[in-house]
């Protein structure tokens, strides 16, 4: 299994282009091909959970000269999230994307995006991270504009400009780090930065990275592109962007670099927590006023990412007692996984609703739970999970974050987090009331349930929502603890270089 590690990027990368060739012969093959590829990746990602931490040396070059691929708890966790969600989204796409033309091109871009995200997650080389970041970003810019209508093009262009600035900031940071450490290998860089310590240059690099990756994660001062880009994309892509992309490119990169490479500093912890709190409040309040189904979900994504960032920020503080830091980190990571599950569920639901009714306007929808029972019930489960109602998974992760914040002495942040929990509940109740319940408008009298290929992923994701809430201890023991240990153990990460 260890020898197969580079295949996580190689398979989707090759498949993306092979797909375009094969579909020249037979168009029907495209669905099947993408399905098989993502299924293989999902199975491999789940198998990866049972491997101990290891290092793969690309081409057999010894570190620190060659490129490393690192597998530890965090990488495995992210790989499972990325590949399982993308598999379910592909099932959904097979039916949904028939409303668009050029399906093979859609699959090609989709697989390219998966290749980029997997690459970001598995790599142990700074420049490699940048390259994969760009691959995933370019594919996502094109996918946002896939509809080629006025709104889509404008959103895509806006996303492209802001994403371009983010990438330049990241590359600038990497260039600075290379100039002081003389290496691009992440464990090696971590070791040398330890000797150098906190200088003004390190602080500048941190600022550049927070800006670059913060833009990709769309935390609040950098969020302007997300509420346009996510609703404009086709529904499966919105699910991928909100569910996975902003986490793999933004939050994961921040975590990996701040914890394992640069090291924990109090100032950085305070900045990350502040950004998290700001995202939660501002985006939460903005979400209330939205009248577009997907736009509301997009604002809620920013708000929920705030929860993840506040949990991570708490753990970044080196003065925190170890138990509290661990609790905050586990809460943040669990919320990250949960958000991937229920936000993709909700976006796919919005896709199913749009597929049958042709509108996303909350004012024109209503009473759909009677017409589309499966979509309605799963959408309801997703909304309740994200609002933090027990026994669903969102409740557990939010509770852990609250407890960690109060234990860490951040009473104000804790209160804000609880208050935003109520705001979330409010706008999701509003969403449910306007879409699922109430009177059915006359225009929607003949609406039918979405096709099986679309309801199947919804049901699986809804089951995951319930199962991860009920089986929290199982998830905690098998997934989150390993990821948490990998992050908090900087020496372990450096030692991978020597021992691997």
């Amino acid at each position: 299994m260890q020898g197969l590690y580079p295949l996580f990027t190689a398979i989707p990368l090759a498949a993306a282009f092979l797909n375009l060739l094969v579909t020249k012969v037979s168009k029907r093959f495209a669905d099947f091909f993408a399905f098989i590829v993502t299924l293989v990746l999902a199975v491999m990602a789940v198998r990866m959970l049972f491997e101990p931490a290891f290092v793969y040396k690309v081409g057999g070059w010894l570190p620190p000269w060659g490129i490393l691929l690192v597998s530890d708890g965090l990488s495995s966790l992210m790989l499972v999230v990325i590949n399982v969600i993308s598999f379910l989204v592909i099932i959904f796409s097979t039916k949904y994307m028939t409303t668009y033309t050029a399906k093979p091109k859609y699959y090609a871009l989709f697989l390219l995006m998966i290749a980029g995200m997997n690459g970001v997650v598995i790599t142990g080389d700074m420049f490699n991270l940048y390259v994969f970041l760009e691959i995933a970003s370019i594919a996502s810019y094109a996918l946002v504009g896939f509809g080629c209508e006025k709104e889509e093009l404008e959103a895509s262009f806006k996303y492209l400009i802001l994403g371009g600035v983010a990438s330049t900031a990241v590359l600038f940071g990497i260039a600075f780090l290379y100039s002081v450490t003389g290496t691009l290998n992440m464990p090696d860089m971590a070791m040398r930065l330890e000797e150098i310590g906190m200088t003004r240059l390190t602080a500048f690099v941190i600022a550049l990275f927070l800006m670059g990756f913060g833009l990709k994660a769309s935390s609040v001062p950098f969020h302007a592109w997300l509420p346009d880009a996510h609703p404009s994309a086709p529904a499966p892509i919105s699910a991928m962007l909100s569910g996975v992309l902003i986490k793999a490119l933004g939050v994961y990169a921040i975590m990996r670099i701040m914890f394992n490479v640069i090291g924990q500093y109090v100032l950085v912890a305070h900045i990350v927590m502040f950004l998290g709190a700001l995202s939660m409040v501002v985006a939460g309040l903005l979400a209330i006023g939205q009248s577009d189904f997907k736009r509301m979900l997009a604002y809620s994504s920013i708000s929920q990412i705030g929860y993840v960032m506040i949990g991570i920020g708490l753990a970044l503080n080196p003065e925190m007692p170890a138990a509290v830091a661990a609790l905050g980190l586990v809460g943040g990571l669990f919320h990250l996984v949960n958000h991937a599950v229920f936000k993709s569920l909700l976006f796919l639901c919005s896709g199913a609703v749009e597929y049958r009714t042709g509108t996303r306007d909350l004012g024109k929808l209503g009473g759909l739970i009677r017409k589309m029972p499966v979509t309605g019930v799963t959408c309801s489960i997703g909304s309740l999970s994200i609002a933090g109602i027990p026994p669903f998974n969102g409740f557990v992760s939010k509770l852990i974050i609250f407890i960690a914040l109060f234990k860490g002495g951040y009473v104000i942040y804790g209160t804000i987090a609880v208050a935003v929990g109520f705001i979330t509940l409010y706008y999701f109740v509003k969403l449910q009331r306007e879409v699922l319940f109430g009177a059915i408008p006359e225009a929607l009298a003949k609406v039918r349930e979405a096709p099986f290929a679309m309801t199947l992923p919804l049901v699986i994701l809804a089951i995951l929502c319930v199962a991860m809430g009920a089986g929290y201890t199982l998830v905690d023991n098998h997934l989150l603890q390993a990821a948490k240990d990998a992050l908090l153990d900087k020496m372990g990460y450096i030692n991978l270089l020597m021992g691997g």
Binding site: I138, E154, I161, V165
Partner: protein
């Protein structure tokens, strides 16, 4: 030292162009300028005054070459980053053309169907 600052100045100029200009073609030029400033900076990181090309010539010990040559790694990075920049540029121009087809204008203040 002054060269490093000049590449930063170029970066800020590109950023200014990106923010202040209304025309989307000029915005694209701004992005390209910021990318090139980073490329220049990367090359400068590996530069050494009077350095030789990092190639082992006959009769040269490895130590001798290391002492005199420029750092080859940033050059490889710059090549990669130029290629990525080309990819982004192609996508930007394609989008720009599509936007012109739909809106019949390059002026960003008239392309405002979406509100942040």
């Amino acid at each position: 030292m002054i060269l490093y600052f000049l590449s930063l100045v170029l970066f800020v100029m590109g950023l200014y162009c990106l923010i202040a200009k209304k025309n989307i073609v000029k915005k694209i030029i701004g992005i390209v300028i910021t990318e090139y400033s980073i490329n220049l900076f990367l090359v400068l990181v590996g530069y050494r005054r009077g350095g030789i090309a990092p190639i082992m010539l006959k009769g040269m010990t490895p130590q001798e070459m290391v002492n005199h040559s420029v750092d080859p790694l940033p050059q490889a990075l710059v090549l990669t980053s130029i290629v990525i920049g080309l990819g982004v540029l192609a996508l930007m121009v394609a989008l720009c053309l599509r936007i012109y087809e739909k809106y019949k204008t390059f002026d960003m203040s008239e392309i405002n169907k979406l509100k942040g």
